[in-house]
Symmetry: C2
Subunit: 519 residues, 2 copies
């Protein structure tokens, strides 16, 4: 996997000690690893259903077309032979499929610590922290606008948990930092508090270029080394229905030209920005996603891309978005089938509409995470910490979700379903005999320490022991855990020279005024 | 499905009005229906794994043997050619497979209201209320021993929710009713407060015979009519490892002889009553289950049976049972594969180790319910209301679980994944165009009322609306819902003559002293 960490690797300094130092004693968590999803996906569509969704997406692309609010993109598409009218591009299905066929089925992103490399595609399943809520909520402080201190707390949780593989977007939007320099301060924290794969928002060329430069510096890379392999990524959303906006397209094209991955995730809420029927919402999502991917493959053939799904439905009584619903699960599974049909890596999400980390939050999030498993998703956004349809990030929810993510990782360990002679334990069964107990037998003693998953947030004691110890509910346990993690947090090591170079860059760009805020 | 409701059907009186009257205005719930599980099961075992588990179960049966603490059962097995030493029976694998081959792949149970018939087997998925906790817990009264008043509350919830198909064992053990007559009072309540399929505990011949007679009376059936088709069922547990006790075998044989279904569910906790390896625990569970099924098929060839799984693991630090774990999920899926291998209907469960209906309760229960889906389980015990590893029944948990059960039922509706021309909505997408909104278009207006699942326990409002309305967490909402349901509950109709006959039977049997309590 580490095909991309040459020359200056020694400089980042975090290679050998990062993982072990990050796992402090606050909780006993499972080690860093990228789980392989060994389950056969759940596939609600038959061949005819796949053909119908594909045909629907192609008709949208060829007959209705997609608006590209970006002249450079329109120029590329015109050169590629697409029919351009105003800002609308109509695509020949053969061209789309030719372009999609150039995308790699999987790719590896190597952050400043190459031990934290992630492969996106195939059977690999990676989890990303909650990204982009404007607000935070916790048990102590309630709901409040996001700020920089809270942003840093979530960065520490993102780094701490081994089950979180990627430091995605801002876990909360730090509104106390001016928008012109926010990306500089946030990326400095992200790149120093974590050593995981980082993300750039496609919110204007200056920001995108700054983030790429900061990732390059943090990795101790030359420009050529940066361009030689994926080091970070962006995620772009279409403006559904049928539209891609200027900054998203600009950022996507900038990354694609430098070989950095682009995840294209339409946000098609059935009944609002998409048809009320799931097949229609998924077909629209596919069309919007494939349009952007075709553009990027035309510009940079073979560049790493993934197709995302964010198809859910609204509450038709209130218009409020719903998440983790039966409809959400099926839309995710259908998108998974289509992603495999196109040979593209796929992104899904861990989501809920609940306002606090309670029962509803966990059944909705659990539904969405299991749908990600069932769909064969390779990248699961918002996998820890999301509440209120993405408007709130919560540290308690982050901890609770990580408990479930660890269980999903454990679920995929082949040992659980091994059936060798030793696993069948016939000799042990004969030895223990009717009415006996297995704890004392040699077969158990040789295996019990690692036989079963050990949770960190679940309380398995009986009611009396639990009540005698204060009767602490899950959300309160999660609150205590996150506090302990923050108290004990140690940032992963970084070479002082690199840190200085990063700080200098931030200072220089701030002095220049950062990024314009009129995009 | 209603092949078994002859002559005296008119007498039960609940046929036409039961369903509609049960759905009061406390919540808007989905109608009664038996969902068909259309998903391809998740199958972690390959062919070699299936062969290994089968071989393991057969070696346990032929080499180690199973203890049958029941001379009648041993006599039958001896007559069938099994090797009997003391109370241990060793089985020829060919005999076991011959007997298992006689069991029907599915069967229908018809309760007093034939509209509440359930089919067990094939793709049918049925849900059973929580059964057998000694204690109750709710937000107002905390934890307390089960009593008759609480038993009645759970019977009303069991009847009320259309997503609960079967009135299983006692939701709480009413310890304020003497054990000698408890079954009489409980079954009277169960058969008058509900019109769903009822269950008999196999706790001694008098109890089993009394319950069969009460079900016969409640159904307005002659003895011949009762015997002609399944009307109720029992569930028996082995005493793992390797043992079946007297009353369970006695009850199972009594029901089998009268054509009433028997669910055989070993309780193999890996690391305690079963090997620490999941393959060993599942092989042991299969051996115990198949041994009882072979006995029943020898006695009554073709009698309806199902194989249950209750394989989980203990916390190796405390010995406490764990539920809804990754290990539990995989054991359930493996058992599902083996049940299909043997052509037997399968029972699973909805379970958790949590002490209160919080986040942990829902991630553990959600994991177990989705494992039931993934395993193709036909009957899901404890699907609503279970806490503390089965030691507590909670009405709030009952309501929260039913929310998830309704979502699972909705998940299986074919409309969600339909891809006809109307579903693809290409014309609507063209009509709305880039940047438009779908709510107003004709395609949405024609469909929005039934397009999406409507929850009754989830709150999808935004934080401010939710907080302004009191900021009520899920468990408190569930508390209010269960109170409203109880306040509005109307029992399903029952012919006065039948009710009198049932009451007379109870009075007569009580006068006779009920059942002996020294079993």
């Amino acid at each position: 996997m580490n095909d991309a960490t040459p020359a200056r690797r020694r400089r980042h300094g975090g290679r050998r000690t990062g993982t072990s130092r990050a796992a402090g004693p606050a909780i006993a968590q499972t080690p860093w690893r990228i789980p392989l999803n060994t389950d056969r996906p759940t596939e609600p569509l038959d061949e005819a259903g796949i053909a119908a969704l594909h045909s629907g997406a192609m008709r949208i692309l060829s007959e209705i077309g997609i608006e590209f609010l970006n002249d450079e993109a329109l120029g590329h598409l015109r050169a590629a032979g697409c029919r351009i009218e105003g800002q609308t591009a109509r695509f020949d299905p053969d061209f789309v499929m030719d372009m999609v066929g150039k995308a790699p089925a999987q790719f590896t992103i190597t952050p400043r610590n190459p031990d934290r490399s992630v492969t996106i595609g195939g059977r690999h399943m990676t989890f990303v922290n909650v990204s982009s809520p404007p607000n935070a909520w916790d048990l102590e402080r309630g709901k409040r606008p996001g700020d920089f201190a809270t942003f840093r707390e979530f960065m520490k949780l993102t780094q701490y948990f081994n089950c979180i593989h990627i430091a995605g977007g801002y876990p909360v939007e730090p509104i106390d930092v001016h928008a012109s320099v926010r990306h500089l301060d946030c990326l400095f924290e992200k790149l120093t508090l974590t050593d995981k794969v980082a993300h750039a928002y496609s919110l204007g060329p200056e920001r995108v270029e700054d983030v790429m430069e900061m990732v390059r510096i943090a990795g101790g890379l030359t420009h050529d080394e940066f361009d030689a392999a994926p080091r970070m990524y962006t995620n772009i959303n279409s403006v559904s229905p049928l539209k891609h906006d200027w900054p998203m397209l600009d950022g996507a094209m900038r990354l694609a030209r430098r070989g950095q991955p682009v995840v294209v995730t339409p946000f098609t809420l059935a009944g609002a920005m998409a048809p009320v029927t799931l097949a229609g919402a998924v077909a629209l999502s596919l069309a919007e996603g494939l349009a952007a991917i075709a553009l990027l493959q035309w510009i940079a053939p073979g560049c790493p891309v993934a197709i995302g799904t964010f198809t859910s439905n609204v509450d038709m009584k209130s218009g409020a978005p719903a998440f983790g619903t039966p409809e959400y699960m099926r839309a995710t599974q259908m998108t998974g089938q289509m992603a495999r049909h196109y040979g593209l890596p796929m992104r899904a999400s861990g989501v809920c509409a609940a306002n606090v980390p309670d029962g509803q939050a966990m059944w909705e999030t659990g539904n969405s995470l299991w749908a990600a498993v069932q769909s064969g998703a390779n990248m699961v956004y918002h996998a820890a910490g999301w509440l209120e349809g993405g408007l709130i990030a919560s540290p308690e929810k982050f901890v609770m979700d990580c408990e479930l993510l660890q269980q999903i990782q454990r679920y995929f360990e082949p040992a659980l379903t091994a059936t060798a002679e030793d696993d069948l334990a016939i000799d042990a069964i004969a030895e223990v005999g009717p009415g006996g107990h297995f704890f004392g037998c040699a077969h158990t003693q040789a295996r019990y320490q690692n036989a079963f998953y050990q949770p960190f947030a679940s309380d398995w004691r009986n009611f009396e022991a639990w009540a005698g110890d204060g009767g602490v509910w899950t959300v309160e346990r999660a609150h205590r855990i996150y506090k302990r993690i923050l108290a004990e947090f140690e940032a992963p090591p970084m070479d002082a020279e690199i840190r200085d170079e990063l700080a200098d860059f931030v200072a220089r760009r701030k002095a220049q005024g950062g990024a314009p805020t009129d995009f």
